[in-house]
Amino acid sequence: MEVLERTPADSRNRDSVEFARIVREHDADLQRVAYVISGDADITRDAVQATWEIAWRRMPDFDASARRAWLLTVVANATKRELRRGRLRRILQVRSYREGSHGQVDRPELLDLGRAYSQLASRDRQILGLRFGVGLTSEEISPLVGLSASGVRVRTARLLSRLKKELSDEG
């Protein structure tokens, strides 16, 4: 794998257009991954900013799929590092479906699901958030949560079963 180590002089001539294309292609997913892990808008902003700074300096010369995996790993680690710095962590909650101060929900039929989801352990919420909120595959989630891809699949299936059962019991 070739690593593009860029000097300041090189940077003045680099292809900003290509970098902008990469940012536009991946930024939304990086934002979502950071937010699912941190549940905090400020940490999300800082982690994604750090990720793009790293990418700007030395984005490995990957093919497109490897580049996505690299960026996901970097943003996940940057987010976790921000969390380890002692900042308050607020794991992703589905605020709009909780019984908030306004007592209003956008989709009443999702209220029970939102409540059941919020009661899951934070790690489980992250797995489901990455899978169904961000749309990552089990292989992409694997390095972000420290489980094997098959482990992610098994855990996801169990969580879906659990949510289904809880909704049935409530119904």
Binding site: R12, V23, R84
Partner: protein, 397 residues
């Protein structure tokens, strides 16, 4: 469960989560980002203005060590210093590095400091924006890491600047890097893997993980041992109660012994006697509101060192001394307090965020809001005042 039932709940989950994420994340302004990064590059391309602190007339010690000039200012009589303004500070100025320069032979020299000094370290332009992560006691070896995500680590040895890139390591991915107390090796870790980099031979050796464990949080304890906290880092980030273990690795034999175990360990700090301090987050939501520090002695026995969560809200910074008895933490308003187990006392050290203790646990390094870096003694008296980072602890024989 039938597949279509799963599909229903998957669809509902997507609806639920998409809406929340859509509301919660803000896309990066690409043009502004690139403009900012370009400006940063342009600044880095300029010759760096030296921030080497002026060495005053009171300098009493100067040593030349393999191309590294080390000037230690005499900073006695600092107790009760009336002004925190820049003192005739200690400074440390490695020669300009060149990656083309052959690496000098580096072997740790026997060096038994009797005290420690905080010195300014003038970094070369290539790593000027990096943070000093460690300095050998004799000042010959400086480890710097790249912020904000520790995406690279370099060793600065006289005129030699080495990029530490372990085999198979993805350049740019965050890593952890620590310099051994004697400056003889660097411990690098990433994603559950760890390597030992020998400064003298420049060889990387992958270290084994604790038995049956996928890795963990690595800390150098002394020049012959490392500590590993397993099952904590990811677990803490993902919440839930988990069992965590503290392992001690003999770096000569690569044999592990288990030092202790806790629920919900989230931080590990080595103690010079062979034990450790473990930070445990007892709060039910892992929101950093239930911190306790436990001391684990070398024989595995343990006791509560300090119940931080019972007394203070989450800190913005903290450091645990190698004596295993002292904890400094920065609370609201940017003030740093010191807990001392021997007296049971908590008192204010001064303004500024805590960075670390000196290796002998006598001094504490603080970063003040005005950018000054100060070393204070345990009473809070300023011993050294520097114009700002980077800085490091140098031993004095």
């Amino acid at each position: 469960m039938k597949a279509d039932e799963n599909s229903d709940i998957e669809r509902q989950l997507r609806d639920l989560l998409h809406a929340d994420l859509h509301r919660s994340v803000v896309a990066t302004d690409v043009d502004a980002l690139i403009a900012q990064l370009s400006r940063h590059d342009a600044r880095k391309g300029h010759a760096r203005t030296s921030v080497l602190a002026a060495v005053g007339a009171t300098t009493v010690l100067a040593a030349v060590l393999t191309g590294v000039s080390l000037n230690l200012a005499h900073i006695g009589d600092h107790a009760g210093l009336p002004s925190p303004s820049e003192s005739p500070a200690s400074s440390f100025s490695p020669a300009s590095p060149s990656t083309a320069t052959p690496s000098p032979s580096v072997n740790p020299t026997p060096f038994q400091p009797t005290s420690w000094r905080l010195v300014h370290i003038d970094l070369p332009a290539e790593v000027a924006a990096h943070q000093v992560a460690g300095v050998s006691p004799d000042g010959r070896v400086v480890l710097v890491v790249e912020l904000p995500a520790l995406s690279s680590a370099h060793l600065l040895i006289a005129a030699d600047l080495r990029n530490l890139l372990v085999p198979g390591h993805t350049e740019g991915a965050p890593i952890s890097a620590q310099l051994s107390p004697d400056g003889g090796f660097v411990l690098l870790s990433e994603l559950g893997l760890a390597w030992r980099y020998e400064v003298s031979s420049m060889a990387y050796t992958q270290l084994p993980n604790p038995p049956g464990m996928p890795g963990g949080q690595w800390m150098i304890q002394d020049s012959n041992h490392a500590l590993v906290l397993t099952g904590s880092v990811a677990s803490h980030e993902f919440g839930g109660i988990t069992d965590t273990q503290v392992w001690r690795l003999d770096l000569e034999t690569l044999a592990y012994s288990e030092l202790g175990a806790r629920h919900d360990g989230v931080g590990l700090y080595p103690v010079a006697d062979g034990g450790a301090v473990i930070l445990v987050d007892n709060s039910s939501q892992h929101d950093n509101t239930g911190w306790i520090f436990d001391r684990i002695l070398p024989d595995g026995s343990d006791h509560l060192l300090y119940d931080y969560g019972a007394n203070y809200p989450p800190p913005s910074g903290w450091a645990v001394a190698l004596d295993g008895q002292s904890i400094a933490f920065t609370v609201g308003g940017g003030k740093t307090l010191l807990f001392d187990e021997s007296s049971g006392d908590v008192h204010q050290l001064g303004d500024g965020g805590v960075l670390d203790f000196s290796p002998d646990s006598v001094l504490v390094r603080l970063l003040r809001q005005d950018g000054m870096v100060v070393a204070v003694d345990r009473s809070g008296a300023i011993v050294t005042s520097l114009s700002g980072p980077p800085s490091g602890w140098i031993g004095v024989e």
